[in-house]
Amino acid sequence: MKSLLTSLAKTLPVQTAYAHCDLPCGVYDPAQARIEAESIMKIMEKYSGFHEDEQKWRAVFIKEQRAELVKHHLWVLWTDYFKPEHVEKFPELHDLFWRATKAAGDTKKSVDPAVGQKLLDLIAEITEIFNKTKAK
């Protein structure tokens, strides 16, 4: 019976279930959030040079996607990487993640590079703390 099911599983289309970090893989890097935030920044800088509606529409749509990815990467770091002992040592951690996630949301609502820079600055603060937790 099991070999029949195995054969069926190999031939029929099966859906993937995700076990995020259930390995656990131990691979965390604020660079993921930073790279998406840099992309947002570039989109904001280029936006003022766009004249076609199609270009503007695509820029806003892609910026929206990147901002959502920033939020995801921040959540992963916050919920899966950082531990209670990190919060004890860096009590500003929860507030920092709250503000950074809000800043990611703000980049959806604006094409002002200053808003994009604010997000990058907050991610840089998180990166600094992350690096300190990795230092031996």
Binding site: L5, T6, D22
Partner: protein, 85 residues
């Protein structure tokens, strides 16, 4: 869901399990992550009113109701009834 389920295993989910009965504590279910709709496999550990608290068996590495809160019945796809490679 280690050690019960391993990365790469295939599981059989019965979508009709909860047609005539309700999900129970300790049931392993396939469900939609309320944040991004991805399919996850978790165990029901608490039931309150019509909401379900789900957790991965590998508690130290699981992203579950401790992160995304309790889930509704509508997020549950079905019961995991078998696992094979």
């Amino acid at each position: 869901m280690l050690p019960v389920l391993k990365n790469g295993q295939t599981v059989l989910v019965n979508r009709l399990s909860y047609l005539l009965s309700k999900p129970k504590i300790n049931d392993i279910v396939a469900m939609h992550d309320p944040r991004d709709d991805k399919v996850l496999i978790k165990r029901i550990t608490k039931i309150e009113d019509k909401s379900y608290f789900v957790q991965g068996d590998n508690k130290n590495a699981s992203t579950d109701s401790r992160v995304f809160g309790m889930i509704r019945r509508s997020a549950i796809i079905g019961k995991v009834i078998s696992a094979f490679t």
